[in-house]
């Protein structure tokens, strides 16, 4: 995470403005670190060959004009389900092989207009479906804290990139925990904004009503600036909401720990939670109380159906969203199919991995005539109840605290044979997506095996500023050690962890 130039966005901006380093210098540093570590960590699926050029152009501009954004020249990595015009977007799937994007995702375009330098595109579970990045068609990403462990997923590449110091900021997408769970596993901060806060235009859809783009960063303050830069109404996405992004900044500034009411759903701290994580969370709760925060007991009675609801709603939408990958217009197509039907069947059979196929089948079934009422429609009804529970709870508290993940980062292959246990990785994070709420994972130290543990904060709609301020206060209480990653260390790994 640490680099020789700066330890925060503000420090970067100061250093840049005082000419203590050039953007080219910074860019080259991160690129060469990536080149050294990527063969073993497998964080990036592609590296931007144009990054140094862009850095030089920015440097040239900075000779004449002062930077107009703290992000001018800031290095960023983006998950490879976010589009950048002229660059491949793979979604870690064979079916998109050869596909080059014709547009840039709004979130990325807004960061680019602030002057960021995109260094590369990061690995993920195929089409963001998974909790370990093991479902990538291009091999799994390794956890920088312990290369025999998964980085979490689906945004495992983006989380590992920040943890391993390959970029100070990265973007992921979160449908059921895909930013927060890898953030917890990799010991970094990861934020899923309120649904509608950030445009999904240019994000390859997994589950349209649940997907949100969000940042991984070293601190809440840095994540806040990234959110402000990306957020706001987008004419290309009708589900974005017209709210002033700057409200996040003012709420960040006005939030204090003293007097904050923290909702504790006790049921979620019981069975199924790893002991060392429960212990870290206990420690956190005590610390927060010591700082003047007040615990409030809340109940979220319908949250126990979260996983069930999620795997109906998300798979239904996924089965629909992935229909367009048919081999007709772009990407992979089998050679010499016998007829139209076999072109579809063989293209999709060979183009998609197992987990994607599993979810397409589940979703197709949940939407089928005769089953839709019992599955998809019922799930939507329960989803509404889950949201109602949360809104009810937020009448008594300012935010809700839970663990991010029930377990520490697991070993490769540990859960791939048992999809249900893999799905349970997201038990704490999924409900925030179902309820459309902002949530984040912030590191609270390491467990007995030296693996990072994350605390999960969920807030009412549009409360990102408040959550990020609290995350920074928590980070102040739990200064994270840094993972020991260097090329030699990782090179020594056996391949045993791989499937």
């Amino acid at each position: 995470m640490k680099n020789p130039f700066f330890s925060s966005l503000a420090e970067f901006a100061r250093g840049r403005d005082e000419r203590r380093f050039s953007i080219e210098e910074v860019t080259r540093y991160f690129l060469s670190r990536t080149e050294a570590l990527n063969p073993s960590l497998n964080v990036c699926l592609s590296i931007n060959q144009n990054a140094v050029n862009r850095a030089r152009q920015i440097d040239a501009r900075l000779v004449r004009n002062k930077a107009d954004s703290p992000f001018t020249g800031y290095p960023v990595m983006i998950k490879d389900n976010l589009e950048m015009e002229g660059y491949p977007t793979t979604c870690a799937s064979r079916i998109l092989s050869g596909y080059v994007s014709r547009r840039t995702a709004t979130a990325v375009a807004r960061l680019l207009s602030h002057g960021v330098v995109v260094l590369g595109k990061t690995n993920l579970d195929e089409f963001a479906m998974g909790s370990s990045t093991e479902n990538s068609a291009f091999g799994p990403t390794r956890n920088p804290w312990n290369p025999s462990r998964v980085p979490g997923g689906s945004s495992g590449g983006s989380a590992a990139a920040v943890a391993a110091g390959l970029a100070p900021l990265s973007l992921g997408s979160d449908t059921g925990g895909s930013i927060r769970q890898p953030a917890a596993f990799c010991g970094v901060l990861g934020v899923k904004p309120t649904y509608g806060r950030i445009s999904r235009s240019g994000l390859v859809a997994f589950s349209s009503s649940l997907d949100q783009i969000g940042p991984f960063a070293g601190s809440g303050a840095d994540a806040l600036e990234a959110l402000v830069a990306m957020a706001g109404k987008d004419p290309l996405d009708m589900t974005t909401v017209d709210r002033d992004p700057a409200e996040m900044r003012s709420e960040y500034q006005s939030t204090e720990i003293g007097g904050v009411r923290i909702g504790i759903p006790e049921a979620l701290f019981g069975e199924g939670l790893d002991d060392s994580i429960r212990e870290r969370l206990r420690n956190l709760r005590d610390s927060l109380s010591g700082e003047g925060a007040r615990e409030v007991s809340v109940t979220l009675p319908h949250s126990r159906y979260g996983i069930n609801v999620y795997y109906l709603v998300a798979t239904s939408e996924a089965s629909s969203n992935l229909s367009r990958f048919d081999g007709v217009r772009y990407g992979f197509r089998v050679k010499n199919p016998a007829d139209l039907r076999s072109m579809y069947e063989e293209t999709r059979d060979q183009g998609f991995g197992d987990e994607v196929k599993r979810r397409i089948l589940l979703g197709t079934f949940a939407l089928s005539a005769g089953y839709q009422d019992a599955f998809y429609r019922k799930a939507r009804k329960v989803q509404a109840l889950i949201r109602r529970d949360f809104l009810e709870a937020f009448r008594q508290c300012d935010m809700i605290l839970t663990p991010t993940s029930p377990t520490p980062p697991f070993a490769f292959g540990e859960k791939t044979g048992d999809p249900l246990s893999m799905y349970l990785s997201d038990v704490y994070t999924i409900t925030a997506n179902l309820a459309g709420l902002p949530a984040l994972s912030v590191p609270v130290g390491v467990d007995s095996h030296g693996l990072p543990v994350g605390a999960h904060l969920i807030g009412p709609p549009w409360s990102e500023g408040r959550l990020l301020r609290m995350a920074d206060r928590i980070a102040g209480l739990y200064p994270m050690p840094l993972p020991e990653v260097h090329a030699g260390h990782v090179d020594g790994l056996s391949e045993g962890g791989r499937r």
């Binding site: 999904r200 235009s201 009708m238 589900t239 939408e317 629909s320 229909s323 007709v328």
Partner: protein, 496 residues
């Protein structure tokens, strides 16, 4: 009704509902800003959104919503304050996303109806619903062996689907309903209704039952019938087929059939068992469509006079027969031309007999000459050199007696042919009607002098010879003589 033996048909009642897909006259597509235009080279009106690229999202075209509301108001539908777009799934190369964005459980418009009038009488065909959806592209197979190409120019073009209740009872009624619906959509500028270009397409749902029965027979759907004539033929065939089948003890199977214009038959496309499961569910990329009551009021206020009302007014105001009024009203441009002409005459001769006469002449001229050229060459003849001001001026010469009606007709068709101003043609050809008493008097005297025997016979009581003299005078004047004047002078001179 036509089709089938009448005796047999008396034993059966035909029950038909129609689904019409009409393309809306928007500048751009329903969910992206690609141009909505027919006839461009393949795949030139496309973008990542309408090609179904990953990462793209639909953005609703407000103009399509406005046109939908307008069509609904014109047909007396209820506008849903909130309606929902849904995804309809199936795989086909011309469907880029693998689903069509349509409306299903909650359409934009419900209820309403259309008055139809056939030999069987006047009735209302109720409308069940109208909803917005996107069109698919087109698969091209012609002239490319072993290959198919896909043209996505049409993919995403806005459609209004208009579903009738099963109120139609014969092929004649179906065709009349379709004609009136098309007329309504054209009059309100919702659609150009161009059937050759596919902007007005029809699916037929047809079943038969015993008269008096209150339950429906098994329904067969005939897909994509694209002309009024084919709709009629397909229905006649399908009615025969179903009656024959049922009368010989077979059961009708619920299925989708296709009409083959070359054989005039319908043939099976897919059975109920093979029916697709479209897996509809609400489109998560689009919020519910909330209709602003202000928009509804705006559209209601700005609705043009609807065809049915206009027919009534033409009959009442101008003394037209219903049939003539319907002909004029069927074509918006023609009826506008007709009315503009009338108002020009009105400003020239504000009242009385002269106006009445002008109206008669104009009506008959438009219904014969202008209509013929219009049918032959389209709306262009109503503009340019033969625009209404010029045609009215031409007729003005007839009314003033300086040009005969037949000359006017000749000049008009020549003016259309050559795209020339008819008034200039009149001058150029030296066409002047002879109306002067002296000149005509000399002509008449000449004719009488040349035909003494006929004159004697006429004066002896052979009245029928009068026409012979008129013809002879007209011939002598090479058609330029004013026939009324000729009559007058002849009558006078023949008295002796």
């Amino acid at each position: 009704m036509s089709g089938g033996s009448d005796a047999r048909l008396r034993d059966w009642e035909v029950v038909v509902g129609l689904e019409v897909h009409t393309q809306l006259l928007t500048k751009t597509k329903l969910f992206c800003r690609c141009e909505n235009r027919f006839g461009a080279p393949p795949n030139t009106l496309v973008c990542p959104v309408c090609m179904g690229h990953p990462g793209t999202l639909p953005v609703l075209n407000g103009e399509a919503v406005r046109l939908g509301v307008r069509a609904g108001l014109a047909a007396g539908c209820q506008v849903s304050p909130v309606s929902v777009f849904e995804r309809k799934h199936y795989f086909y190369p011309d469907l880029p996303k693998g689903y069509q964005i349509s409306q299903y459980a909650t359409p934009l418009l419900t209820g309403g109806g259309l008055r139809i009038r056939t030999e069987a009488g006047e009735r209302t065909i109720r409308i069940h619903r109208m909803h917005l959806e996107e069109d698919a592209g087109k698969n091209l197979h012609a002239g490319i062996p072993d290959r198919s190409h896909v043209d996505l120019n049409r993919a995403g073009v806005p459609l209004l689907e208009i579903v009738s209740e099963p109120d139609i009872r014969s092929p004649d009624e179906a065709v009349d309903y379709l004609k009136r619906l098309r007329q309504l959509l054209r009059a309100t500028k919702v659609s150009d209704g161009n059937m050759e270009e596919g902007s007005f397409r029809c699916d037929i749902n047809l079943s038969i039952r015993r008269p008096g029965s209150t339950v429906f027979g098994t329904r067969v759907e005939i897909k994509n019938v694209n002309s009024f004539r084919f709709v009629h033929k397909a229905m006649v065939y399908e009615i025969e087929r179903q009656i024959e089948a049922v009368e010989s003890g077979e059961k009708i199977v619920q299925e989708t059939r296709l009409f083959d214009p070359s054989s005039g038959r319908t043939k099976p496309m897919r059975s109920k068992e093979e029916a697709l499961d479209y897996r509809y569910f609400p489109e998560p990329d689009l919020p519910s469509l909330v209709i602003d009551p202000v928009l509804v009021e705006e559209e209601r206020r700005s609705l043009p006079e609807l065809p049915e009302k206009k027919v009534e007014r033409f009959c009442a105001e101008f003394g037209l027969s219903r049939a003539d009024a319907e002909i004029l009203v069927a074509e918006e441009a023609l009826s506008r031309y007709f009315e503009e002409g009338l108002s020009l005459f009105r400003s020239a001769s504000p009242a009385g007999d002269a106006l009445r006469k002008a109206r008669e002449r104009w009506t008959s001229f438009v219904l014969s000459e202008v209509l013929r050229e219009f049918n032959r060459q389209g709306e262009g003849v109503l503009e340019g050199e033969t625009a209404v001001v010029h045609t009215v001026a031409l007729l003005g010469k007839v009314l003033a007696g300086s040009l005969s009606f037949s000359q006017a007709k000749e000049v008009y068709s020549r003016a259309v042919e050559e795209s020339r101003n008819p008034l200039l043609l009149v001058e150029e050809l030296g066409l002047v009607q002879l109306s002067g008493d002296d000149e005509l008097g000399r002509l008449v005297e000449g004719v009488l002098a040349e035909n003494p025997a006929e004159v004697a016979a006429y004066r002896g009581g052979k009245d029928r010879l009068f026409g012979f003299f008129v013809g002879a005078v007209m011939k002598k004047s090479r058609g330029k003589a004013n026939p009324e004047k000729v009559n007058e002078i002849l009558r006078d001179k023949l008295k002796g």
